[in-house]
Amino acid sequence: MTQPDNRPFAIRTYAPDQLREALKRMYLIRRFEEGAEDSYMRGLIHGTMHLSIGQEASAMASCMELTDDDKITSTHRGHGHCIAKGAEVGRMFAEFFGKETGYCHGRGGSMHIADVKTGNLGANGIVGGGLPIAVGAALSAKRLGKSDVTICFFGDGANNEGAFHEALNMASVWKLPVVFICENNGYGMSTSIARSTSVKHIADRAVAYSMPGVTVDGNDFSAVAEAVHHAVARARAGEGPSLVENLTYRWRGHSKSDRNRYRTKEEIEEWMTRDPIARFRAELIAHGVLDEASADAIEAAAIADMEAGIEFAKASPAPSISDVTRYVYAEN
């Protein structure tokens, strides 16, 4: 008789290379957000941005089993998803800097960042906007006879949009291969779940769509990976959609205009002790996937990528003003 494998799900499921790559991408998300913030402070980026620092495990662990043919739809807080799904930070920075080399050729910026080639159908400036779109992508996969799944990221705030209801209902009725991942960071802008939402956990709403719903610690890489693994498997097997709720927290304000009058310093600090990257790193080390030195090297590599990305972006050309109406319609 073999011993039961008591190691965390991720450790026993993914190859060490995959795990190291996941850690790298989580560092990359963190450093990318910091680089973006810094660039914003220095006036290199205009507009606003929504940073996902603190939510890296949710983004990365949700994408572990996706190929470039699988799709995601993302949100206004979408940098992490984009990196987790495989985008290059150079082209992402270029987009933030409004450059022609950016993923959207400088037309989209932070809120519309997408990388269709790696299956990222895009961030969305409209809360809830991606929900029906994800269902549509799943419909395509089903009708075209592909085994692709779509992962739909959305926030706790988004779950009160009518689009949430309509999307989950249709996905369920048509048994589509889509996984709804609610990144519940406790607030939609300044409004807490308790003040906006008539259930304690978003996953409690899954019964209204006859789909499995599960709430996990969103800062625990392995917990997220395991929940999403089952949901993705279910989707690929043609058994329909699932709802996974990742409980997490954003360390920064909602956006650059946030004066943080709705949550306490204590609450923020408490959550910072639950840093998903530090936890994952420690877990990998504890299970012998890494040692401290190689973990440091991974972190350093992420920093180097980030810095190279910023340089690439800075050096890139801006779009020509005469092209302001380019890309409105297909060119023929």
Binding site: R107, A163, A330
Partner: protein
Amino acid sequence: MNAMTDKPSSQPQNLRTLSYSEAIREAMAIAMEADPTVILMGEDIGVYGGAFQVTLDLVDRFGTDRVMDTPISELGGAGVAVGAALTGLKPIFEFQFSDFAMLAMEQIVNQAAKLRYMLGGEASVPVVFRLPAGSGTGAAAQHSQSIEAWFGHVPGLKVLQPATPEDAKGMLLAALADPDPVMIFEHKLLYKMKGHVPEGSYLTPVGKALVRREGTDVTIVAGSIMLHRALEAAEQLTKDGINAEVIDLRCIRPIDHETILASVRKTGKLMVVYEGVKAFGVGAEISAMVAESDAFDFLDAPILRLGAADAPVPYNPDLERASVPQVDSIEAAARRLTRREV
């Protein structure tokens, strides 16, 4: 249907006539036969055949996987169509009444129309929205609107309004061949009108208006059902020796400037007839387009707009009729304009 409307067809003489709704249905069937990625979505478009019976029997031919009854979820349904279009399908999404598109403005305008641009050309959303529009059915304020002008204001969309069965088929096929989102406003009162429809596949050019009746004294631009009323009014006007040129607008976005301007340069007088509310309607754009063009100098009278009364569409049939342009009001207005009594 006025015989004149068949004139522009360059197809070989063919006596086959179909109704407007049959023509649309034929276009869908042709497209679905030719391209397995074309699907239909909408409320009650399956066994019910759609509120106006346009999709009748298509579910028997193509099955429920390709003729999908959606729940009553316009925002979500339109969004599913957008997402499907983004990833390899070509959905034709029917709103049961164009009024209900108001529930889906977000997906139509914020998503479908803008995705290509926001993604810097890296995405394409080949979705077609079909929208039964207009008054005259006694269905009152929430089921009788003509809101097509709104979509004229939205870059990224194309907006069509067929007036004849031939165009209804050709425009739908053209919309499906288009890589960008297209909205087709169909008029409920036209569904049963019959006219010549060529066999097989053909594309009505998007963005081209058509002179349906040549004339010299006044240009009347009208689309959809108003074309037929304008043509009838034009016939009446000949009794007074007034020879109106009638242009079928066909496409609200983009608008065919050239055809309209050429006509105005010839007649020196312009009148725009449309069913939407007068203010901020299709007539405003056409009037303004002419008034800022070099055709301005050819105008020898004010530009007249004939649109709906400034009110929701009323239920009472006489009020309803009075609230939108009719043959007699078009005729009277054209008479005033040609005599410069405006």
